[in-house]
Symmetry: C3
Subunit: 211 residues, 3 copies
Amino acid sequence: MDLVLLTLDLVGTAVFAISGALAAGRKRMDIFGVVVLGCTTAMGGGTLRDVILGVRPVFWIANTQYLAIAAIAASGTFVLAQRWRLPSTLLMYADAVGLAVFTVIGFQTAFQITGLYSIGIVMGMTSGVFGGIVRDVFSGEIPLILRQEIYASASLCGATFLALLSYLQLPNAFSVWAAVFTTLFIRLAALRWNLALPLFLPHEDRDKNDS
Amino acid sequence: MDLVLLTLDLVGTAVFAISGALAAGRKRMDIFGVVVLGCTTAMGGGTLRDVILGVRPVFWIANTQYLAIAAIAASGTFVLAQRWRLPSTLLMYADAVGLAVFTVIGFQTAFQITGLYSIGIVMGMTSGVFGGIVRDVFSGEIPLILRQEIYASASLCGATFLALLSYLQLPNAFSVWAAVFTTLFIRLAALRWNLALPLFLPHEDRDKNDS
Amino acid sequence: MDLVLLTLDLVGTAVFAISGALAAGRKRMDIFGVVVLGCTTAMGGGTLRDVILGVRPVFWIANTQYLAIAAIAASGTFVLAQRWRLPSTLLMYADAVGLAVFTVIGFQTAFQITGLYSIGIVMGMTSGVFGGIVRDVFSGEIPLILRQEIYASASLCGATFLALLSYLQLPNAFSVWAAVFTTLFIRLAALRWNLALPLFLPHEDRDKNDS
């Protein structure tokens, strides 16, 4: 893996670990719970990616730096949050950066292995959103991906854009950064201006199953 | 994989994608969220099956038709539900068909690999119920499998019946269809007449953990 | 695998199956639902461990005794709970034994494969806590790991202690039992005296995301 991707991947790991730690903190977990949820969030998406693609050993066994960075970022968040008032939107921003970075890493890994753009896009989304889903399910929240915000769509756009740039054979470092910033921009714009896509508003009776 | 199984598998993929899309719609997700939950529901059970059995690459990487069918079925459901009033029981019926089909496919795949009836039955159930569990957990519902209805039991009966037919060495196409219709019949009968098995009614005090 | 580990593993499988069956019973599932949740709880942690480590086939396909023991323990719990009043704390105790045993088995399996203490500790925790997380998520409860009790921490201490004993090259049978009892003691002490580690009490505004 080249240096740009490795750096990005470690940054993504740290920010997702922070988002997991913040989510754990909302549930008033103790420090080890915070570290566990931080690491799970940070490495869940990539683990599912490697398991589905058959990459052996999975990335955090091959390179234990990931584990160390996730644990340090999560416990650092724990310590900092005891002392300073962290901005309440930090979870959202950390999650957005992680989403953007892991979407790109997931695309690259899957595309290098399979050579298929469609699988690259799907695995980009999987890597990007799965860690956050695990974080939200484990902490008893409705996953961000299910809220009425552009979330999976941001990941899909970023991965599709990266597929296009790869198809055009642009320099890899350029493509990677362009796709990261595209994903991040779409997600942040959606958060900032409450953008939303057309919703699913079925005509059917919802009373039956809700009761 | 022979033609009967492939056809069934694609049908199961489509109906589970529809059930995932309908569940996503209940939560008012946007179109990409609907497609993501539809694909996850459609391919979750088979992915877990392939990962546990060590099948590489997993089925939807080996054959991207599955991905295409799931995405089309989910987005088609999104479009149709905007225009027509879909029957409120459609989710239940689509889920029942998917349960029956994936139970059979799961048994066949695992039995061909391991040669063990017990593993065939367990993986049949896993394939049948896991996609629906993921759908329900991700959309914040109590999984269907946990409700007081014959659900896992229908899958278990179908898979066991198929194990028996395989043991008797009946023609494969006959066994497959017989097991699909058995599973489907048991599940639909349970829905239609509210059948239930004996419940777990422990004498223990439930107050402690519920509070 | 030597006899001590195999015995422990089967005991852990049985007690986690009991804990899954009891949790299913709280939700008034039927007997097959109880068996399914029992088996999932008993084998979820080890399955994730084997899938991540790339062990093929996974343990319960390689040795179907696990499946049989889990199914018998879960259905036995179902039958017993219909007749006798089981102590309301049984779920907690069964879970604690399973946590201790699977932490140790997870460490041993991962350490034998990778030779890394850090991966051994992480996979020990993963094996120990994942089955219980699946049980709690599937039955719609907040995972035990998230409650304000020493849970992940007990597993972490036990795994770290075992890493230390392995490093010191003490006899394996001694190390294994010492680590099991250490984990179990910490967990039971935490339950008995309501011990807790420092909590995460961030200064940030929690209103925004809770609303």
